[in-house]
Symmetry: C2
Subunit: 394 residues, 2 copies
């Protein structure tokens, strides 16, 4: 019997919620959890490099019930949802999903959910870690729009990796293989109601199964595991190594309420041709016209393999002391590394740094304060591994 994780290390009382898959994750030997949307998120069952290899070459299962849904229904649900995001939802069909940003009046990013359109006036937002239900309820208050907002009983799991296709075909049949990127299917598995989407946070081929009955989580988990047993299917946490390679951002650190879409390379989310009004439109137009002061840049950090950063690392300009270096030598802090880790495939430390635009040009030399001391770094293009070679853009 494996030792089970001591939940008292990360919880006091019953305030934080457990996922419908929780008992299965504990039984599977989960070794660490974090907290996300007031729930526990399993982050690790094995060494992070071993989990990365399983994702790259096989098929992995992640309990991401923490992707809580905001459900938007009512006669004005389309108009309301379209007001929340700079993307033009008139281009989103029923049965289709979109990666969207939710923006505040100043253009700051409130969240970056996957949106699913289940009906003309029926939407789910699968959330990153912020209380978008409160945001949406506040916005609705004086909007004059007739909508209902709530959190439905919906709990996603991700099935990611090149062999995920085999697993979902065995479970749901050939229909699911026909799904285009970001489209979805409403179906069931032995009476367990689910939505299956062609989405994921990995840069690998992958799917998400949105469980629609929280009482049947362990049952669904076991069915998925059984379907991939001969393929070596394994429970893992989301892979920061793989998502950083792919240039995927993590809400709460790489982008926040204090950053706007242009600063983090998501300017393509702002649909300039969108005719309907949306929150943040004026601010984003002004930012686009005036230009940026800072930008999230890809960086390579020199030296031995680094563990995933657990704090923001300070960045300074990287010129030689007294020399002509980029941006001036020996200066103070100019920015921060938000995420960085060793890529086993690239054999380099890669990550992102939020720096003034003058320091964000490819080739710029920087210095980064890691726990092992200050290291040299260089601005490089993102993504480090192009996900479009494997997956078309939504």
């Amino acid at each position: 019997m494996k030792p089970t994780f001591d939940m008292a290390l990360i919880q006091r009382g019953a305030r934080l919620r457990r996922s419908p898959y929780f008992d299965a994750t504990l039984r599977a030997g989960c070794r660490s959890y974090t907290v996300y949307n007031h729930m526990f998120l399993p982050t690790r069952y094995d060494d992070l490099h071993a989990e990365y290899e399983k994702l790259r070459t096989g098929v992995t299962v992640w309990d991401v019930s923490v992707e809580r849904q905001v459900e938007i229904t009512g006669p004005d649900a389309f108009a309301f949802t379209n007001m929340l995001t700079p993307r033009d939802l008139s281009k989103c069909a029923v049965g289709q999903g979109k990666y969207v940003l939710i923006t505040a009046e100043d253009g700051g990013i409130v969240n970056d959910p996957v949106l699913l359109r289940l009906g003309e006036n029926h939407f789910w937002l699968a959330l990153a870690d912020s209380d978008v239900l409160l945001w949406a309820k506040g916005v609705a208050l004086n909007s004059g729009l007739d909508v209902r907002l709530g959190e439905p009983d919906v709990s996603p799991m991700q099935v990611q990796g090149p062999k995920s296709k085999v697993v979902v075909r065995r479970l749901f049949g050939d229909d699911v293989l026909a799904l285009r990127y970001y489209w979805f299917l409403e179906t069931e598995l032995d009476g367990i109601p689910v939505v299956v989407t062609r989405t994921g946070w990995s840069g690998e081929v992958g799917y998400e199964i949105y469980l629609r009955d929280g009482s049947r989580g362990v049952e669904l988990w076991d069915r998925v595991m059984d379907a991939g047993a001969d393929l070596g299917i394994a429970p893992t946490g989301p892979s920061d190594i793989r998502r950083i390679e792919a240039g995927i951002l993590n809400y709460g650190i790489d982008m926040t309420l204090d950053t706007n879409p242009y600063e983090v390379g998501l300017g393509w989310q702002v649909d300039r041709g969108k005719s309907a009004d949306f929150i943040g439109r004026e601010a984003l137009a002004r930012i686009a016209a005036e230009g940026l002061r800072r930008r999230l840049a890809g960086v390579e950090i020199a030296g031995a393999p680094l563990d995933l950063n657990m704090t923001r690392w300070a960045v300074r300009g990287g010129g030689e002391e007294g020399g002509e270096g980029n941006g001036g030598a020996g200066g103070g802090q100019i920015g921060v590394v938000t995420s960085a880790v060793w890529s086993p495939r690239l054999k380099r430390n890669v990550g992102y740094a939020m720096v003034p635009v003058a320091f964000a040009e490819t080739g710029t030399r920087l210095r980064v304060a890691t726990p092992d001391g200050e290291r040299e770094a260089t601005v490089v293009p993102m993504p480090f591994v192009d996900p479009r070679k494997e997956i078309p853009k939504s």
Copy 2:
């Protein structure tokens, strides 16, 4: 050298924030953290009963930086803030604080912060665990009111216990002892800017020190510890044992967005004489007129000492099988225990259960599914230890 806590057990990457006191808490031997408002909250340095005794008889220090502030300023700050809460803020002077509820349009509880009025149009809300900044920004959007909303650099610590008076007098002088319950003082300590309030989450005498410069957290921590060294001052987590004895509720479990003030015994927060409009007014008036369907009741649970509940425990009616028991015997689940723990002082297991009003009368017998099996329970009046004997109501 004490072993330090392995943060990798509860975090992946730099998404979750560390408090200005974080290094001091790690150095002091903190043995578990949880996550609250996207930050780490130290929960335990010692056995929970030992920490309870320190709080009851001495003085304890808690890092509660997770009580993030929403700051409201601008010409309409008073009108806006008064709209967020059922309490009448015209009765809150500059220099005074209030325990308030933030309510949604349906009367659900968005948060239960301590509000401080720093100026005619300058407020802080020291938050429980929900993104009230998003709520407030959403509400402000179409409100027609001119306000600025943000999160200032403010990080509270609590100094709680009967000897806390000595500590704060040594640090801040006699002025602080003159503070009435929920009033505050803006002052400094060797140039460290702070606000000192006569508040706390313990039912004991206590204060909170709101640090206004996040770069000086460890410095403030060390000054507070030095000031209480001869009194045996100790860092602890918030004491669930003590707060349950006092009938204090924990947002996210004892009350949530799905509960209204009347259901959780906080109807006194709804100021019926308030002339200004506020969010939730109509719904709360309707609920008050129609009466409740369920209510949070105090319960005593029979048997041996129980550890603090880590999940919601199912509650059934408690009559004898086939007998006349209260509410019918052998029935299905009628509610949940939200919080429960052994009180060393009362030598009983005490807690709260959300149950239909028919089961909420004093003396009603219930059955509670604990991890040790089903136990008998009885509805009893709250609080278990009357805080008003020690502390007047705000």
